[in-house]
Symmetry: none
Subunit: 414 residues, 2 copies
């Protein structure tokens, strides 16, 4: 069973607004075993909505519309769906009365344009909206000889969600083949997308019943795997096996198999090992501290740190000897090492992180180009330093450096 | 001229990911006077991409694809567009060589799957990608007797943007009817959306030729205004007048009228006043430092700071007297004040910022609930402290606190 989600609204075709209802609807549909194969965003023009509806009927079994059910002249989803299906609209007296009552209860007079929200497509089931004026509509029947389900939902997210849960979910469950969709997200850091795919493709190809998507985001690779069966146990067992095979191949490049972020994993290891950490950051400017402290409960392991942009402050807050900076320069292995060791000692922590580099876009030289970053992790038994050359703009270099630094902590504690 | 944007990628049909490239592309197309009338999101299935391409050709003049140009078997945009247009693909020796070189420069061996990124649709112009391996492609010609432009761009946003700016913008400008779209973004902080709209709606309604969108994002309101005319001067003059009227009404709540972020504005003021700043952060955990240092050139005014999660570190790195913490508690006005004054003095800066609060979700008490934050700004002539109670989750509280702190610096230097 294939679904298409159609978001209606000219504001969703501007640079400033984005359809987000489809993420919620996709999660709901997936949980019933229904895949979303297409999403379309269309403006408030009758002709365009008709065109989009007609296309969707030709390629999907279940059509979800969000938006375009309000009272203004721009709200045309009802009209367009009725026209595409060759059905008429009737004004429903009961809905009209409930809209009028809603206004009266607030002491307002209903303006005439609101009446169109009581228009119902012939044959549609009205889905009551407890959170707003415009009800949803459910239409099921044959179009071009095929069974279709068409659901019209209001655009405001809280109305859409409430209406979906109260009136759509069970109705839909009764209509779809009983199925279970199980899914996992593996997160991998320290290798590139194509290198990763080259290693895991031979594995996931042995699982034709599992759908695998490989996704590169800055500083990490995500593998989304999902499968659909009749029983939850069978699905979980199948995914356990695939995930086990992939982890066997990639080893500790996989940092999470339950969707956790790298900072969550690092916090988790720190607490499991009863370890504490402090950071001294130059080019990342607080990003590593910010990521670590974004996690609830991080205060148990994260003690604090210093953001040391100036050379003087590297000495003053993290005890980097001034002559080390003079001899090697602020962006150097010895300074990274001294930052990590200095902040560790000063904060009395199990671990100390030091980061220094050239974030760019200015400040690079032939010897020390933009993207050059030294990452140091100091512990009880010594200090490890990793030198990297990251490509990209300032934000990207900083992000990659924070990713590398956190990954060093993860690997140290694993 | 009508555009359709097609985002390709099965991950964009999951509940976890969303196409964001289309927002950037829409802004660019609008600036050339091209309206986006449809957006489509489709997975990595050849048959589906062909179907979507064919539909788009029937309703739009300009088609932009993002994604599906990578090295994996899932990357099928090239193949699908070629098939829809009835064109073949050729493997381009020059691109192949540049991909191989890219790998060699990093000391890696190119795996075989990367070669498909050198496949070019017959008749297409290759658009060089400086940020990644997969080049873009530009195809223009007749389809079903109508003139069409089809542009294939890589999915990673930094690649897409860089490629659009270097190779697409001018090529497209030469092909579209000359029109001017002028737009401005006003950013407002320190007031709510409905309060803001109540004050500015009577103003923008006097400008029916200007389209105004009001948009609430965490910690600020954005007013997007735009108008379309034949002459740039007329458009700019009209927007100058509207923006002047709005700024007259809202005064210093407006912190930017050219789209700059709050951290950019703060950096700009710091440099204009020849001032330097240091920060001592508790609950924001490095977020303020991270935001300030995200700006190129911030090292001229941002000296550094301390992230002081533990009480001991508040004393040790920012010289907060231990008895002040004992008497008033870590989350208190005197501690915020001492953080600001301590870090200012220690770093020898013009200004010192101190932030302490309860980010949540745990750690709140009846007296000091989650969301309570003290922000202090110390300068030559004394220290100002602002107490706020923010609603929302940990990320929201931290963001609002950073916004408040930066806004205090802006107002101080204005």
């Amino acid at each position: 069973m294939i679904a298409e989600i159609i978001a209606v609204g000219s504001e969703l075709l501007t640079p400033f607004r984005q359809d987000t209802n489809s993420l919620y609807l996709t999660a709901q549909l997936n949980s019933l075993g229904v895949e979303v194969e297409f999403k379309t965003i269309v403006g408030d023009r009758l002709r365009d909505i008709v065109r989009v509806t007609s296309t969707a009927l030709s390629r999907a079994d279940v059509l979800f519309f969000s938006g375009g059910l309000g009272p203004t002249e721009d709200d045309l989803t009802r009209e367009a769906v009725a026209e595409t299906l060759g059905l008429g609209l009737r004004r429903d007296a009961e809905i009209l009365e409930s809209i009028e009552r809603r206004f009266a209860e607030r002491g307002w007079k209903m303006s005439a344009n609101n009446a169109k929200q009581a228009d119902v497509i012939n044959g549609a089931t009205v889905l009551r909206n407890d959170q707003g004026t415009a009800p949803g509509q459910w239409i099921s029947g044959k179009a071009n000889g095929e069974e279709k389900i068409i659901v019209l939902l209001p655009g405001p997210p809280h109305e859409l969600k409430s209406l979906f849960e109260s009136s759509v979910l069970e109705r839909l469950r009764a209509r779809v083949p009983k199925q279970v969709l199980a899914s996992r997200v593996l997160k991998i850091t320290g290798m590139g997308e194509s290198a990763c795919d080259a290693r895991v493709a031979p594995i996931y190809k042995r699982y034709p019943d599992v759908s695998t998507t490989i996704l590169a985001v800055p500083g990490e690779i995500q593998l989304h795997v999902s499968t659909r069966t009749q029983s939850a146990e069978a699905a979980e067992e199948r995914l356990d096996k695939l995930v086990g095979d992939i982890e066997g191949e990639l080893g500790d490049y996989v940092y999470s198999d339950n969707g956790d972020s790298l900072e969550q994993i690092v916090n988790y290891y720190l607490q499991m090992r009863n370890a504490t950490i402090a950071v001294a950051e130059s080019c990342t400017g607080g990003l590593v501290a910010e990521r670590l402290t974004s996690i609830t409960g991080s205060s148990r392991s994260f003690i604090g740190g210093a953001v040391v942009y100036s050379d003087a402050l590297k000495t003053h807050l993290a005890d980097v000897p001034a002559d080390v900076i003079d001899v090697y320069g602020a962006v150097s292995e010895p300074v990274a090492r001294a930052l990590a060791e200095g902040i560790r000692k000063r904060c009395g922590c199990t671990l100390g992180l030091g980061i220094t580099g050239v974030a760019g876009p200015t400040g690079g030289t032939a010897e020390k180009p933009v993207g050059l970053v030294f990452h140091a992790l100091a512990g009880e038994h010594g200090t490890q330093v990793v030198k990297r050359n990251f490509a990209g703009d300032r934000a990207r270099v900083r992000w990659f450096a924070s990713q590398q630094a956190l990954d060093m902590v993860r690997r140290k504690l694993m």
